[in-house]
């Protein structure tokens, strides 16, 4: 079990401000867990987290060292659209300035160029990531394993939008098991600077602590000038992570040997 350190026992190494965009409207598959995971890990590393839940219409917090967003229903996306427009310039500036951001599913789509509905209507996005999403009749649902710069990442995808990367847009990872951005090109998510967009719920950070600490390293360095992590016991997360990887890769091998590639990969 990881010890909860910092706070009262020893002097804090510094305060880090996390901003969760639209926790009510855009957190349908436990994406709140990402914010909780980061706050807990900050404490465990000896820092003081401050979490700002940003709701539509609210003022922007004075300080922000890391931004998080999750997935929602279509109705949720409609409810945040206006507020997102209001903060669009600020969000683009922060992204260009290197602020770390993790945008999952619906918020990933909204951070892109546009969303084209099934009826062909074009809804503009924030254009922070060069991706375009098209509404789709069939959903891409199931467990996922990715290879990323932050190592192997596990999660669960559930999206009807198929996303295509623009010329030169780097993906977040490549699909080892699952569907990814569109089920065809083997890419998943997108990454520009320190902004990561991904379809992976899970939520993604608790089961992938290396990715969580990668984001924290950038945020903490911005907040305090340096990153001085503690040695955390992540054995539970590693077990959860490894078992999913083994299981999905084994299932993948089985389906490959039996029916070639006729069946979808999950």
């Amino acid at each position: 079990m990881t010890e909860q350190t910092g706070g009262s026992q020893s002097a804090s190494k510094g305060t880090v401000h996390l901003v969760h965009l639209y926790p009510r409207e855009m957190s349908i598959y436990g994406d709140l867990g990402n914010t909780r995971a980061l706050a807990s890990r900050l404490r465990w590393h000896g820092y003081t987290p401050v979490v700002h839940d940003h709701h539509p219409g609210a003022d922007w917090p004075d300080e922000a060292h890391l931004l998080l967003g999750g997935g929602g229903q279509d109705s949720g996306q409609l409810r945040v659209q206006e507020d997102l427009d209001r903060h669009a310039d600020r969000l683009r500036e922060l992204a260009a300035d290197g602020l770390p951001m993790l945008m999952i599913c619906g918020m990933y789509q909204l951070f892109g160029q546009a969303f084209i509905t099934v009826e062909g209507r074009r809804l503009p996005g924030l254009r922070i990531l060069d991706v375009t999403t098209t509404g789709n009749a069939t959903r891409m649902i199931g467990p996922v394993v990715l290879d990323t710069d932050a190592g192997q990442v596990v999660g669960y995808e559930n999206h009807s939008g198929a996303t295509v990367l623009g010329q030169g847009q780097a993906p977040f990872g490549s699909v080892v098991a699952g569907q990814g951005n569109n089920g065809t090109d083997g890419t998943e998510g997108a990454r520009t600077g320190n902004v990561i967009g991904s379809y992976l719920h899970g939520p993604i950070l608790p089961a992938n602590p290396v990715l969580a600490d990668h984001l924290l390293e950038i945020a903490v360095t911005r907040a305090t000038g340096q990153w001085q992590p503690e040695q955390l016991d992540d054995s539970t997360a590693q077990q959860a992570h490894q078992r999913q990887v083994m299981r999905l890769l084994a299932a993948d091998r089985r389906s490959t040997s039996r029916v070639g590639r006729l069946l979808p990969r999950r």
Binding site: M1, T2, Q4, R24, E25, S27, I28, Y29, G30, D31, L32, G33, R36, A37, S40, Q73, D74, S75, R79, R139, I141, G142, P143, Y156, N158, S160, H201, G202, P203, P206, A207, T236, A237, Q239, A240, R243
Partner: protein, 434 residues
């Protein structure tokens, strides 16, 4: 003629699959293949009607309560008692009771149906009555979005020919009142304003942007059954006719009380002036919990509570109901199709109430993910054992002589209950018909 053949084939398949100890849907599948209209042929001329119970949480419990209530009033009721809530499950249940050429010996069919399958069912035979409980995030990998689940239930209400009973406190359900066909009456169940402070625990985040009326703004209170809670166990169901209760259920918790209120609302709608509050109260108070829904198993003189959890709202309510009493706890999480394959929802449940006592053991395919979730809520976990049999063995041995409780997802619950049944002489799944 075709129906007779279909029933005969189904009965044959049923006999064969029982010999093998197999599943409950296959005989239904065989019958449905031969006569796709079999449900229409057997159900549409029941003297009473066809009552469908649907929604995310509480279908099995509510169905069982409604059946008990109607039978206590002398009605003959056919139901699908095993929670086999797909059309094939309904047909399979019917095969046990129907003679080859005769009609179903019943006044009413009371059927628990899964949201998606309720609609499939309604296309074959229109329900006369629909009882719609709630819309929560449940197995979203199947129904994809809450909005879509609400749509399915709306369309079920549109197909219903006589009476629709709606939950006034769930805005996804209450707004369906505008969707019913002309001439179809709308009745309501819900929580009395005096007990409304208890509701948020149930609603969790599922009714985040509420546009429902709530019990205070009911369109017509004359056709309403409301839950007034007295204390942890005792409550009264108010209504335009005489109140039902005060009464106490066999099953604990607010969710069960709301289920009883829903069943009562439908009972009143079905029975009209024949409805007897005293008979209803007695019937409700004698209903035993369905398998795994707070069922208490006697383990050498000490209670083992088996609690099914399948979505954030359900788990939150279960922790609120059971979490306050310090007993030794095991949590078993599978991610098979019937459980919902995505375990993200565990992060929408707060496990802080278990912090002090800790969790003895996590198990199931996602045992480590559950342990990780608890770690992030600072709940100590003694042991992680993914294998359910080994986990159960260890749990019972290490906690012998103490009250114990197991929270588990559906397929883990079925597995554990089979093990418990063979050890402690319980009724087999599907034999519980009362």
């Amino acid at each position: 003629m075709r129906s007779t053949l279909a029933i005969a084939a189904g009965k044959l398949a049923r006999g064969a699959s029982r010999l093998r100890g197999g599943g409950s849907a296959l005989p239904g599948l065989v019958t449905e293949r031969i006569d796709p209209e079999i449900l229409a042929h057997t159900l549409s001329d029941l003297p009473g009607g066809i009552i469908v119970v649907s929604g995310t949480n509480g279908k099995t419990t509510t169905t069982k309560m409604l059946v008990a209530l109607l039978r206590a009033h002398g009605q003959r009721v056919f139901t699908n008692p095993t929670g086999s809530n797909f059309t094939r499950g309904v047909i399979s249940a019917m095969l046990a009771e129907i003679p080859l050429r005769a009609r179903l010996d019943a006044d009413w069919a009371v059927l628990e149906l899964d949201e998606a399958h309720a609609l499939h069912f309604a296309r074959v035979v229109a329900p006369t009555h629909a009882l719609l409980l709630n819309v929560a995030r449940d197995q979203l990998d199947r129904f994809a979005e809450i909005d879509q689940t609400a749509q399915l239930l709306s369309r079920l209400a549109e197909q219903t020919t006589h009476t629709v009973v709606l939950n006034v406190d769930d805005s996804f359900i209450s707004r369906i009142r505008t969707q019913v066909a002309d001439g179809v009456s709308v009745r309501w169940f819900g929580v009395d304003p005096s007990s409304a402070q208890l509701l948020p625990a149930l609603q969790e985040a599922d009714v985040r942007v509420s546009d429902g009326a709530g019990a205070e703004g009911l369109p017509d209170s004359a056709d309403t059954s409301l839950l007034a809670v007295h204390d942890e166990r005792s409550f009264t169901i108010t209504g335009s006719t005489a109140d039902v209760g005060p009464l106490t259920l066999q099953q604990r918790g607010l969710a069960a009380m709301i289920n009883a209120t829903a069943a009562t609302a439908m009972g009143r709608a079905v029975l009209g002036p024949e409805f007897d509050p005293q008979v209803a109260a007695t019937a409700l108070s004698t209903v035993t919990p369905p398998f795994g829904r707070g069922e208490v198993i006697d383990v050498d003189g000490h209670p083992l509570e088996l609690v099914l959890v399948k979505n954030p709202a359900g788990f939150t309510v279960a922790l609120g109901t059971y979490g306050s009493e310090p007993v030794d706890t095991m949590i078993a999480i599978n991610d098979n199709y019937a459980d919902g394959r995505d375990v993200s929802w565990l992060y929408d449940v707060s496990f802080e109430s278990l912090r002090e006592q800790g969790v003895a053991l996590t198990s199931g395919v996602r045992a480590w993910d559950m342990a990780l979730r608890l770690e992030y809520d600072d709940v100590p976990v003694e042991h992680v054992e993914p294998d359910l049999d080994l986990a159960l063995e260890r749990f019972l041995r290490a906690h012998r002589g103490r009250p114990v409780r197991i929270f588990s997802t559906y397929t883990a619950m079925m597995h554990l209950r089979r093990q418990l049944a063979s050890r402690f002489d319980l009724a087999r799944f599907g034999e519980d018909r009362t």
